[in-house]
């Protein structure tokens, strides 16, 4: 199987999962006891007509299965095919339409569009931070197994996985923002905006300021990932160092340095890659808290707002999209895995 074929294969495999995400979220939101319309209007104002008109506007007057088909965008297709009863069905998920936010009264997709980049920026930077620290630390710890360096880095990693990220965020704000006052703690700036918007002279300054603003949230979000990746890197490196091919390299006079950097290193990255993919969901969840602590207008904050305002459509849309982001992330890491490990694309997939 070539890499291309494998890519197609993985994408096809993702379809049922994405469908599953939509089903699970849709059911959870719609089978919950509350009624969205109740939350929208106060009791005094509630009249039959008002409720009916609101329900009609958001498509809540139809049976649940029909709502689901509408939401996914199947109805739209059925309408296109001329199936009776679906004549003028609205576009849905498949057409990129996630409905209307009840609180903002704007399309959900439009609301999300500006919120996705900050979250991606945050999560990806956190991974960059985590990897640059975790990989060398993990390798060093594995190489000095059961020596002081190893013990110290293991304990640090254990603390890393035991500490809530938002609390780290709060502590960082207290230390760097309040006590030392050397780093900004809120009002994130985004590099894709016009520098003049923030009153900066040029793009270079904007980038510099972005980095400064990003630093604390990235450390807060990245610490957990760093710790987790370091632990896995360490154990997989240890396994790799004990493997027969490393012993063979030793027996042929390859220097320890080369063994560490080449022979043992590359195979040991495989579990790390898998882990990065699977942990994307934890990072996205963590982003919700970090965005709240550092007041970043990303997807996480949008979700929190949507829950505060009980904006059903927005809750549905944001949750599904986060799930999709995860699925796509996993596919990307799987391809990276296949790139490193030639066995994956050979014959049956791993």
């Amino acid at each position: 199987m070539s890499l291309l074929r494998y890519t197609v294969y993985r994408l096809l495999q993702a379809i049922p999962v994405m469908f599953g995400i939509a089903v699970v979220t849709f059911l959870m939101v719609n089978l919950a006891p509350g009624d969205p319309v109740d939350y929208m209007i106060s009791e005094e104002l509630a009249s039959e007509e008002l409720i009916a008109s609101i329900e009609a506007r958001y498509g809540l007057d139809e049976p649940l299965w029909r709502q689901f088909l509408n939401y996914l965008g199947f109805s739209w297709f059925l309408g296109l095919l001329g199936v009776p009863g679906f004549a003028d069905a609205p576009p849905g998920l498949l057409q990129g339409d996630l409905g209307l936010s009840m609180y903002y009264d704007r399309p959900v997709s439009e609301l999300m569009l500006t919120r996705i980049p900050p979250t991606l920026m945050l999560v990806l930077s956190a991974y960059a931070f985590a990897l640059t620290l975790a990989i060398p630390l993990g390798v060093v710890a594995a190489n000095r197994r059961n020596k002081p360096t190893d013990h110290i880095s293991r304990i640090i990693a254990l603390f890393g996985v035991s500490t809530p990220s938002f609390w780290i965020g709060i502590m960082l704000i207290v230390i760097f923002g309040v006590w030392l006052g050397i780093l900004p703690t809120g009002r994130m700036v985004y590099p894709w905006r016009d520098p003049a918007f923030y009153g900066y002279g040029n793009h270079l300054e904007l980038w510099y300021q972005t980095l400064r603003h990003l630093f604390l949230p990235v450390v807060a979000l990245g610490t957990l990932q760093m710790a987790v990746i370091m632990r896995v890197e360490r154990s997989s490196m240890i396994e790799s160092l004990q493997s027969e091919y490393v012993q063979l390299a030793r027996a042929y006079g390859v220097s320890e340095r080369t063994i560490l950097r080449k022979h043992a290193f590359r195979p040991s990255q495989l579990p790390v890659i898998t882990l990065i993919g699977l942990n994307l969901t934890t990072s996205l969840g963590g982003a919700v808290l970090i965005e709240t602590v550092f007041a970043i207008n990303g997807m996480g904050r949008l979700i929190v707002q949507s829950i505060q305002t009980l904006d059903y459509q927005l809750i549905l849309g944001t949750t599904i999209v986060l799930g999709f982001v995860f699925v796509i992330g996993v596919i990307i890491t799987d391809l990276a895995y296949a790139y490193i490990d030639p066995r994956v694309t050979y014959g049956e997939e791993a």
Partner: protein, 367 residues
């Protein structure tokens, strides 16, 4: 006779475990001459592989070479001196002798270019994420100071020599695209490509099918003729020993019990263990109606039996065997056996041991 290529004297290697030290190799001595294939044969747990990794100083923690001497040509791979300070038991403490090669010298001067190794499991010995050719090339490059290009050409040539079809194309294939037999050929190409004088082959055909084993043995025969390389051939298979070895060392529980030319080992057997081993294996070339197995299994190396280590299973054991630790005694030209039958320590006067204790296989209690 000229100076042997490799001499191993009284080599001792221990593994430190929670339950005490395991003396995996306990005083092993043998020689390897230029151009010969020396067999190291024994059951699992006899200490064969530990012996070979001790020679190359590849024993890893918690194991350690604790005594003896290994000389390769005029180089000392392993050597000990008695230190001035005594250890807590009052015995002189052993320290690494001065002429012993440093780790760096070992790596740069011996491993690969003088002594190469082939491991048992061809499936695990190749790095799965690098191409087969690249791995062969790298080792050749390191050990023969070649440029990358030269090493590449040499690697392809070696792959062809060991019978890998379409060597040029397969150079850039990954290990998982090779069958077990082909991978073992790759490992042989790797070893030969470094032009060592001695190759340690650690059960190289055990994981292979018979016909593939036949191919490999044939190949090794040809290559030995061509390159005049010496081999230490570790195996548990007496058939392979008979087939390929010039001289044989039979190991039992960390010691060599008999050593000599292959023909004498099989036809003028001097140690009861070798004898019993030969009697217990079925033959492919004739129908044997009854095999006489050796009683019990080899005990652990943690608490080896006193006296002769084989005595609890030995059909010829006598009372004296429990008390006297047998040394390797000359029993023929270049033929030695560690059995007190051949010495004068009162074996024949001693009472035969009855194996009535009925402890066929020592079972350790639950922990």
């Amino acid at each position: 006779m000229s100076e042997p290529l490799l001499t191993v004297r009284d080599l001792k290697t221990q593994f430190y475990t929670d339950r005490g030290a395991v003396r995996a190799v306990d005083g092993v001595s043998f020689d390897v001459e230029q151009g010969e294939i020396v067999g190291l044969v024994g059951e699992s747990g006899a200490g064969k592989s530990v012996t070979t990794s001790s020679i190359l100083r590849l024993v890893e923690e918690p194991g350690e070479v604790v005594g003896g001497k290994v000389r390769y040509g005029d180089r000392t791979l392993v050597g000990f001196d008695e230190a001035a300070v005594a250890d807590e038991d009052g015995r002189p403490k052993l320290v690494h002798s001065e002429e012993m090669l440093s780790n760096r010298e070992m790596r740069e001067e011996v491993r690969g270019n003088e002594i190469a190794i082939i491991f048992q499991d061809p499936m695990e010995s190749l790095n799965p994420v690098y191409t087969v050719g690249g791995q062969v090339r790298e080792f050749i490059q390191i050990n023969r100071d070649m440029s990358k290009e030269e090493a590449r050409e040499e690697a392809i040539e070696m792959l062809r020599r060991v019978g890998i079809p379409e060597a040029e194309d397969r150079y850039s294939d990954y290990p998982h695209e090779f069958s077990g037999g082909m991978r073992q050929r790759v490992l042989i190409a790797m070893a030969l490509g470094c032009r060592p004088n001695l190759i340690i082959a650690d059960e190289p055909t055990t994981a292979l099918d018979v016909t593939v084993e036949g191919q490999i043995l044939e190949l090794v025969d040809d290559l030995v003729d061509e390159f005049d390389t010496s081999f230490i051939w570790v195996t548990h298979d007496m058939g392979v020993v008979a087939e390929i070895c010039d001289r044989v060392n039979v190991m039992y529980l960390g010691r060599i019990v008999e050593q000599g030319p292959v023909d004498e080992i099989f036809h003028d057997t001097k140690h009861p263990y070798t004898e019993a081993l030969l009697n217990s294996i079925p033959r492919p070339d004739r129908t044997v109606s009854d095999l006489s197995p050796i009683k019990g299994t080899m005990p652990g190396a943690m608490n080896p039996p006193a006296g002769c280590r084989f005595h609890p299973r030995c059909p010829d054991a006598r009372r004296a065997c429990r008390e006297v630790e047998p040394d390797l005694l000359e029993v023929g030209l270049d033929h030695r056996s560690a059995c007190i039958k051949h010495g004068e320590v009162g074996y024949w006067e001693s009472e035969p041991l009855e194996h009535t204790e009925a402890q066929p296989e020592t079972v350790e209690g639950p922990r």
